[in-house]
């Protein structure tokens, strides 16, 4: 089932000259884990925000084409309606805390209160997401007293509690230390295994290669390519788009060792060690 359908999407922020998104068309199936990569200012964040309706509803600006998310046409619905279908998590966990709630429990409830979920169901949903994101021990803590990784997982929990079918994450781990980042990646991985469609912008290519089914490469608002990690990272012109392949791919490229039976290089530690391991004398 198609969860996201984007057709000829064009968008320009108010007071700017050039298109932030330039004629994008693509589709995403239910349960896919999609990575978005590209240089800074290539339109990654704008694309994320267009899927949840912040573009154009929050920013205004010039908009063309259509985005359909889980059957809803984004242009015709308010952000709070679209929020029931798709959630978004931003880069800075700190700015996603409401600042009006005193415990993690209440913080997660904020969205549910707004959309009018009955109290008993609210409690059930909160318990589920606390477990899913491994933050149950902190339920009574003050939201601002959490570490970055915990705070970001709380932000994801707050979104997941609203039961969207799709979650968009815009560089969710860039402010975190490696351990905090790994906690977040594993949490997202668990969501993906539960059938939630995931769209993630990320600079850490090793992580993208490890977790994603497909990778979209953007440049200046245009889609350059949208394919499997192996195909994308085997491209010779990656660096001209401001990205570099995972370390494992770069090693195998230098040694010209492809995944057997394909035209592509390994992208993960596992694939690389399999290919290289077979050659150890």
């Amino acid at each position: 089932m198609k969860k996201i359908i984007v057709e000829n999407l064009k968008y320009k922020y108010p007071l700017t000259e050039s298109l932030a998104l330039d004629n994008l068309s693509f589709e995403v199936e239910q349960g896919e884990f999609i990575g978005i990569i590209g240089a800074n200012a290539s339109g990654k964040s704008t694309l994320c925000q267009s899927i949840v309706g912040l573009v154009p509803h929050f920013y205004k600006g010039a908009y063309g084409g259509t985005v359909i998310v889980d059957g809803l046409k984004v242009m015709d619905h308010a952000v709070s309606d679209i929020a029931l279908k798709v959630g978004i998590v931003f880069q800075n966990p700190f700015n996603q805390v409401t600042g009006s709630k005193l415990t993690v429990l209440e913080e997660i409830a904020f969205g549910l209160e707004n959309i009018g979920v009955p109290q008993t169901e609210m409690l059930e949903r909160i318990e589920t997401v606390l477990e899913l994101l491994n933050i149950a021990p902190y339920r009574e803590r003050h939201p601002f007293d959490l570490s970055g990784g915990q705070m970001q997982r709380m932000a994801i929990a707050s979104i997941i509690a609203m039961k969207p079918n799709i979650i968009v994450l815009d560089e969710p781990t860039s402010q975190l230390d490696p351990e905090g980042a790994e906690e977040v990646f594993q949490a997202i991985h668990r969501l993906s295994e539960q059938g939630i469609t995931v769209i993630m912008v990320e600079h850490k290519m090793e992580k993208i290669a490890h977790y994603c089914n497909r990778v979209m490469l953007l440049q200046k608002g245009k889609m350059i390519d949208f394919d499997t990690p192996e195909k994308i990272f085997s491209r010779d012109d990656l660096e001209t788009y401001g990205v570099t392949a995972p370390v494992y791919t770069r090693v195998c490229k230098a040694l010209d060792l492809k995944i057997p039976g394909t035209d592509y290089y390994p992208v993960t530690l596992e694939q690389a060690s399999r290919v290289l391991g077979g050659k150890i004398k």
């Binding site: 402010q175 975190l176 600079h203 090793e206 370390v247 090693v251 530690l269 060690s273 290289l276």
Partner: protein, 266 residues
Amino acid sequence: MIKISNLSYAYTKNTPIFSEINLEFDRRSTAIIGQNGAGKTTLAKLLKGLLKPFDGEIMIGQYNVKTVSAAELSKVIGLVFQNPNDQIFKSKVLDEVMFGPLAIKMSESAAKKNALEALELVGLHEQLETNPHDLSLSEKKLLCVAAVVAMDPEIIVFDEPTIGQDYAGKEKIRNIIQVLKKRNKLVMTIIHDMDFVAENFERTIVINEGIVILDGDTRKVFAEREILKHAHVEDPSITQLGKVLGFQETFLTVEEFVQRWKQSQR
């Protein structure tokens, strides 16, 4: 260049951040790594004189950090903060970079000369008149680097320089660090990006819960997998690949690995 003896520090009395730290820094480029909350940023602020040690001493060159003001210290040690928006306030790129040199009483002409050189180093020399807030976040970060380099301190400390940088931005930071090293500056950084550490820094210090648990040549440090794990630090991707394949050596760069691999295939 820097000598830390018996340093202790705490934000509140009962929870010490550091107790009795001893460290010396020479001109080797140095990465300070460890989990968030391990005390890395506190250490940088202590070195910079923004916090004063409770006990013990920090000597930077002939300056005792305890007795001189942070402003005075900025002639010898510069710190590039993580978030450029915490710093930028001038309406032109050139003015922003000249602010520091003028604040430490450099002459107008020397300040301008240094500022122009620093902007050339970070690649912003064609945007002297631009309003800094019209720059992208990664350009703003480079602007802040230039603002510190223009003050020409002997020691430059970066706080998470690679966060939010794409491939091109990282290459620029890498190049800036190399140039500063050539100018015989001590370059230090607090950083989470282990691949970047492996490729660019000679010495690595691992801090965990306010204690230096590893300190030495980067290669030796990344060989200590067990201790690193204990400090919640992941070793660099290329190091992991070498280990998985059973190599005895600790690899730090793709090139090293490729070369060693080719040898093994002969």
